[in-house]
Amino acid sequence: MDLNALIAVMIILPIASALFLNLLHKKDRTIKIIAIITAVVLPIIPLLTPYGSHFFGGYLPLAQNSTLAQGLPAIITGTQLSQFHLGIMYVFSSAQQLMIFILGIITFFAIFTFINETKKPSGVYAFLLFMGTASLSAILLSDDIFNLFVFFEIAALAQVGIVVASGIKDNYETALKYILIGNIAGPLLLLGIVMLLGVTGNVNVTDMIFSIKNGFVDPQSPVLLMALSLITFGWLYASGLPPFHTIKSEVYSKALPHGAALIQAFSVFTLVAIGIIIIRLFSYNPFTHIAIIGISVIAMILGITMALMQTDYKRILGYLAVGELGYIGIGLGLGTALGITAGLFQAINESVITSFLFIGFGTVLYKTRTSDTKKLGGMMYVNPKVALLVLLAGLAMAGVPPLNAFQSKLMLIQASIQSGLPEIGIIMILLSIVTFMTFMKAFYTVYMRPKPKELEVLDNKIPKSTIISLVAFLIICITLGLFPQIATSSLQTLAAGLV
């Protein structure tokens, strides 16, 4: 059997399982079993798949495909046309492997906590979670920018669905706002993509780079610059960087904890995927790097200062997640091999830590049905174990050794100094401290101060599965913190290819 077919299975399996789960109504046991089996298999597939490319339709470029090229005129075989890819292509290498593995792990724990915290797990909700994961895997794998756009829209719809399904107050309003805004930004992203198509005649990123590098396209063409600006704008929307940080943090706060954990992983990985494409296509243009760094710095400052001002702990986490996205963006924007490796490593760390925090703080919602810090307090006595785990997650986010974000933030600071921009390092340190302060503020008000009299703590016990998930996230954090080379060695090849 051709093992490279497994690349396609990474997307087909969650979609198939999602569609099947959608059909099951009120068959709770079946839904549980199928969801868990799929969720277990998801992180395993990328580990088994060998590196390589998958060509849909099986067509290699004509230059490598002598049977197909036979009998074609020289106008096709003798020109650059023979180099172009004939169908959608998925590329799978060590970096994609690591990212899809981490995405699979987060999906697994989201499904795991969802199934155990909900009495009657709905198949439709599981459908949304799996659909999102499938689209994100495709976004990470795809070398075809239009294919990426299609899956990106599916992921956006899945996110809207997750928000609608949450049942939190005002979730419909948030969902409508998100989808309306998405309907402005999505078509503009597509416009940028088709402008690229118009200039290069291609939607395959590798081919577009080939055209730009070999002089078939004028790199300073105004249409190309317009495409760059529109794709950058779409990238802001996709990842929730400013000015989309308000809506994105609101979306996080209106989703259930496991949903929020997954949605933020979607944002992180879309940021990485589209960011990498922007850098691959336009790194010849020095302004791209400046713009990415500028946007990231604004995201960091706005995200973290706004987080300080919030009173809803889910909103605090949402804004902190946006602020942390800025670190990833800076890594990508620095454009050096070390910087990009550090940015990708930070992306992996952040997706794990923020999921950890969302699910950890989610236990408070589970016990009290409120997320307003003004009404909360004294949760330390209710469940000290979870409080300790959440505290460790907060330390990880702030970058305390020996946890994982310490390693990636250290690398980011080193990279910024190496690139001759020590100021960015200073801002990152400053904002890390403020991140920790913001987290401690939320932690103090929820867990440590005396319990307000009005607060009712429900008698339901926190499921063991939630604790297991939290411990597992902690183990990942510590492992990556002590042995960062596990992750960085996988990411280095991709980063070196981008410089």
Partner: protein
């Protein structure tokens, strides 16, 4: 500090935590913007000095910034849309004319 309290009192009773958070946010904002402006030195050192002076003056004049900033970044759809279209304009203008004239 007093102004911060006055601004914050408008929407909710103030507590120690919110007041200190607002102050911290204000200081963070000013400090990080100041550090970020130092990067202008790569374009021209004199421009950097002028911009730092400008940021300092604005920070003093516009104090308290944070309550206003928070008011601007609310969850109103029209507000969000406005900033998004403004950002679209800025991004397109920067990339398009910024590149052609560099």
């Amino acid at each position: 500090m007093r102004e911060v309290q006055k601004k914050a009192e408008e929407d909710q009773p103030i507590t120690n935590i919110t007041a200190s958070a607002m102050l911290a946010a204000e200081l963070t904002l000013i400090a990080s913007v100041l550090v970020a402006v130092i990067m202008v030195r790569l374009i021209h050192p004199v421009l950097m000095i002028i911009m730092i002076a400008a940021v300092l003056i604005i920070a003093v004049m516009a104090r308290p910034i944070m309550p206003r900033l928070r008011k601007e970044q609310n969850d109103d759809l029209n507000n969000m849309m406005f900033y998004i279209v403004v950002a679209l304009g800025i991004v397109v203008a920067l990339f398009y004319w910024g590149n052609l004239n560099v």
